[in-house]
Subunit: 197 residues, 2 copies
Amino acid sequence: MPPAATEPLTPERILETTEEVLRRYGPTKATVVDVARALGVSHGSVYRHFPSKAALREAVTDRWLGRTVGRLEEIAAAPAQPAPAKLEAWLEALFEAKRHKAGDDPELFATYGVLLAENSGVVEAHLEQLVAQLGRIIGEGVAAGSLAAADVPAAARAVFDATGRFHDPQYAAEWRSPTIVAEFEAVTALVVRGLRA
Amino acid sequence: MPPAATEPLTPERILETTEEVLRRYGPTKATVVDVARALGVSHGSVYRHFPSKAALREAVTDRWLGRTVGRLEEIAAAPAQPAPAKLEAWLEALFEAKRHKAGDDPELFATYGVLLAENSGVVEAHLEQLVAQLGRIIGEGVAAGSLAAADVPAAARAVFDATGRFHDPQYAAEWRSPTIVAEFEAVTALVVRGLRA
DNA sequence: CCGATGACAGATTTCAATATCTGTCAGTCC
DNA sequence: GGACTGACAGATATTGAAATCTGTCATCGG
């Protein structure tokens, strides 16, 4: 990894390199010194752009999570699909996204887990975004008469909580079980049925 | 804690003392030597009755979990209560039991968490008992026409999975949140509605 | 005999010394 | 003058040696 000394040091470049370093070493081994070395600068320079290691970790994870939220947003915003089907599609996409992140990008997934344990605001914001998307889908369904919910935000939260086993990183180890898809479908069916008008 | 050297050494007496020792020191600090000392015998004698420390831990946890299962069984077996109400009562009793165990008996609760992490058969059996009780309640409801489920065991498992946030020890820290009861009620209502005929 | 013991080997844990890391900042260099 | 450096203090992590623990078993005492 030869240092590319000539380019200017920007937050963006730092984030990209930090992501690589996290991917290579994982959240427990990666250090700010490693990131600085990969960038060919002193670690003091990194602190000029990010106030702490935690802030750096959060910024990387935020970007990483943002990519998934974008894809889910497309499903939530898709026009002219009945709300119950959209809800199922969205939940399945969420499960698939988390499962693939856990499998394909284990070190960044572990970083996400660290932030969760730290009660980082980034993760909280991410979860709120997801619940808000759910709320919009459910709201649509209620407006169209295909779903019933007295309190839409509370219903969205309840759906999110009830499906936690399929998106909460604490359960990542179980996502390799051969029965997990059947379990996911059973819970999803139960929850969607519970919302039907 | 004076050693009572005269009484005969029985598995029952070992279990009682082990429970005390676990409660006092917690699963990470308690040793077989501690148990033997509390009993006034050598640790070799303990191994005459239990083949390993893990077996001892499991036996104690099994007893401890069994007490809860017994109380839940009473609810599940209660005659002449409509299945939906019984289901709600059972889920609430499960949540309350786990919550109180986590709060009042933190060290034994931590022991339970250790077994969970070890994939101990005892915990698996405990969970299966609980799901079986759920299955009986749902089966009753289906027979009486108040609930609908194509596959009763699968529905029972789905209800158990969907309410995991309120009985899985991984979430114990969140059970102190002031909003947890509202969240529990929302998920329970959603799930029970999803099963209604 | 039969339950109990305690010495033992190998595994695990503890602890303190050492090394590394995080975050700061006075000073350097372009 | 503003981006960058590198030395530094305090916090955290690593390491390896010593202590403790688990599980076994030859032996003891009633």
